[in-house]
Amino acid sequence: MRNFRTEYADKIYSQSYINKPPTNVSPEIPDKSPSNISPVNPDKGPSFVSPVNPNKPPSNISPANPDKGPSFVSPVNPNKPPSNISPVNPDKGPSFVSPVNPNKPPSNISPAKPDKSPSGISPTIPEKGDSVCNAVNSCPLAMAYVPWQSWNQVYEPPKALERGTLFPELDLPFLGGGAY
């Protein structure tokens, strides 16, 4: 019904994952190349990951330095072996990624399948099978995307009060399982 939501999600999808469709790689696949977040070209629109030199070994999220306070994306050390999400020491405070077995091959993003998630935390995705949900499911965890609003047609004041918003583009009644 509201196609702009799909279009926006597709736009974000294409900007964030230039030339590379994102895939969720299960940690159980040992020979998969350790890179799900492709190197981001700083010239190409919004980027949510700092630019990574593509000549460096693939490494997006390196081990957090415990001396430096909270750090979720630390500088890339080119000498380190490919690693995206480092083994997390459970003693080191809050972690949003569950401990990874260091003997396992590098893995990036926890699997989309709820039953395979090592953290036991799985995103609640409506099973609508539409492209919005699929694109969201492929985005990096814990990233919020808020499109910039612009001033367009607005409701007449009585209608605005009735609908609970002045903006037709925000008039998205919750229908149990998603807003459409």
């Binding site: 609003q149 605005a160 009060l161 002045l166």
Partner: protein
């Protein structure tokens, strides 16, 4: 409900809406013009209401010889 009161309600609602929009778009002239247009309509409706029925809020008490806020009927008790 009193039609004037209803008008005040929806006008104040759209003022809050455009207020929130302007918080993040402070130089959006279309939104700012909208705000001033509807602020003027709101002020007019509010003073019209106050002159007919008395203060709608304590802040709109205008009488110099009596604190009319406590006078009945309360805004929500008025019919038609």
């Amino acid at each position: 409900m009193n039609e004037l009161l209803r008008r005040i309600q929806y006008l104040s609602f759209v003022l809050v809406e455009v207020n929130l929009y302007l918080d993040t778009h402070p130089t959006d002239m279309a939104a700012l013009n909208y705000y001033h247009t509807y602020k003027a309509l709101y002020n007019r409706a509010l003073s019209e209401y106050t002159s007919q029925y008395g203060p709608l809020t304590p802040g709109t008490v205008e009488s110099r010889n009596r604190w009319t806020w406590i006078d009945k009927p309360w805004p929500w008790e008025r019919e038609a």
